[in-house]
Amino acid sequence: MQAIVLRRLAHSLWVVLLVSMGAFLLAHLAPGDPLATAAGDGAAVSTPAHRNRLRAQYGLDKPLWIQYARWASRASRGDLGRSISLRRPVIDLIQERLPASLLLMGSALLFSLMLGISLGVGMALRPGRWIDRIGGWVTTLALSAPSVWVGLMLIHVFAVQLQWLPSGGMSPAHASVLGLASSEAANLWSQSAHFVLPVVTLSLAQLAVWARYQRASLVDALRGQFVRTARAKGLRERTVVLNHGLRNALLPTVTLLGTGIGALVEGSYIVETVFSWPGLGRLSVEAIQSRDYPLVLGLSVTIAVFVVIGNLLADIAYGALDPRLRVFGSRPQAEPGLSETGLNKTGYHGGRAAR
């Protein structure tokens, strides 16, 4: 078990390193003179001597790999440079916006998991019957609607027409919980009201993914010999399904947590922008639109690090939950009927859908 964790950790560090290199290289491929920004807006860097002095001062005369090493060493100490458009340290901006994003994504992850797994279990218990069929249609629909559209339609119906819920933003109370503003008591409803539409929009597609996987893996588990044995022993159906079936069937879902986190991060660009949510997703979109390279670079690396951490945690959780992994030290070759291809064929693994 320990060896596996260490191996996964090493792999994660490796991915972070390569991604940061890739991101740095890409940012440097981008046209535009870094000196123009380094020298400050509007400051004309006129004479060649002055240019050379500045180049030396900022280390731009060094080879690219040295520049990367310097950037990486600063970045590892939390210095990601300054944003051009907002004129503040990138790390401060990220620290400010991160809690809002984590709150939104955490809620969406929980919500989609709870509802998705319940739906999947419901579908698996009656394969081919009405709940299964309706579930099949609903999940396909949920995966097919662009989240921009879902968000806008929800705003139109619930915020504009019915005026039940706010169309976006964060309530002052939330902001205060996150240390964004002075604390002030507010009632629970107005707090959670701001949450509802963004969380629903962000969860929708992911919910469908969980439901489908949960259905597939539970249907599979319930066909297992151990379930037949449990039934033969005369256990109650409830016990058979929950303790014998679901317990085994939850494992494949856990392995998908990693891709699920990636999909939520990608979804957050759109959802945070549609609902004016003050998180990293919206900041990223703003950074792209103002072509703020240091900010984009800092955000990209930060987001990549969080996605990698999410994947790592999902892997470790899987290891902790699967006794085969603890005992034999390797992942089982194939889940019965749920091999990598089996799952992928039915289609919906988080992937990098730009919803």
Binding site: S144, P146, W149, G347
Partner: protein, 276 residues
């Protein structure tokens, strides 16, 4: 039994007409495809013709304009039909690119194995983790927003999925006896991959391709929302949705119809991909 074959009596009399999801998906795709191809015959309006007469601006859906008109008095039915051509082309072309690249990488990694597999899969890992943001930013600063740029961007962010699926499937196929037989007969690795593994990937690739089209059409909508869509005045469903944003309050149909068409088309491709 044999004599009954082909005769009418072989068909159960009370067989209920049950439409499978796949059939419905095919029908949706065919209908939208035909509508896109026949766009000029299905509307008399020019999709880009501006009409600033007072009652032609933001007209709600009605007899003259089934989908209403936008802020420039353009007929949305015409724009939706012509936009279908753009959106579906984006979907199909980026799917082709993603499937081609994904198949080559997945097949190579899965069949050749060893260090090639390790290397290619690390490349896939990085490509998956590599921020979409930077890619967009770079593309944006080098090129003017255009159709080819959009297609390349979408393909560049979706081939990894195909590569992973193809690799896993290839490994399964490669473990089978007929591959061992071909190897024993002295077939080259390239020949085995091309003539023995690839044909067996057909159904997997069909599913992957169908999902890739669905994903690409959704990505077009998302990228248009972020301002990276097809340049104006040409319509695509994504840009129509984006155009409608500022009129969500007074003219919600501007957003509703393009989003609905995207959902319907993507639903069609998802349904076709479902193997049951």
């Amino acid at each position: 039994m044999n004599s009954a074959r082909g005769s009418i009596s072989a068909i159960p009399a009370s067989r209920p007409l049950r439409l499978s999801k796949q059939t419905i998906g095919r029908v949706i795709i065919a209908a939208i495809g035909i509508a896109a191809l026949c766009a000029p015959w299905l509307t008399s309006f020019d999709p880009n013709a501006v009409d600033l007469a007072v009652d032609e601006i933001l007209a709600p859906p009605g007899a003259a304009h089934p989908f209403g008109t936008d802020a420039a008095g353009r007929d949305l039915w015409a724009r939706a039909l012509h936009g279908a051509r753009v959106s579906i082309s984006v979907g199909l072309l980026s799917m082709l690119a993603a499937v081609a690249l994904g198949t080559i990488v997945g097949l190579g990694a899965g069949y050749l194995g060893g260090w090639i597999d390790g290397l290619l899969m690390r490349v896939v890992d990085i490509a998956v983790a590599l921020p979409l943001l930077l890619l967009i930013l770079i593309a944006q600063s080098y090129l003017e927003p255009s159709l080819p740029q959009l297609i390349i961007l979408i393909a560049a962010t979706s081939w990894m999925t195909v590569a992973r699926i193809v690799r896993a499937e290839t490994k399964e196929i490669a473990a089978q006896d007929f591959i061992a037989a071909a190897t024993t007969l002295g077939a080259s690795r390239l020949r085995i991959m091309r003539n023995h593994v690839l044909p067996n990937l057909k159904s997997t690739l069909g599913v992957a391709a169908s999902l890739a089209v669905a994903r690409a059409i959704l990505a077009e909508a998302a990228l248009s929302y972020l301002g990276l869509g097809v340049p104006p005045p040409d319509a695509s469903w994504g840009t129509m949705l984006q155009d409608g944003l500022s009129h969500l309050q007074d003219a919600p149909w501007l957003v509703f119809f393009p989003g609905f068409l995207i959902s319907l088309t993507v639903f069609g491709f998802h349904s076709v991909a479902e193997t049951q």
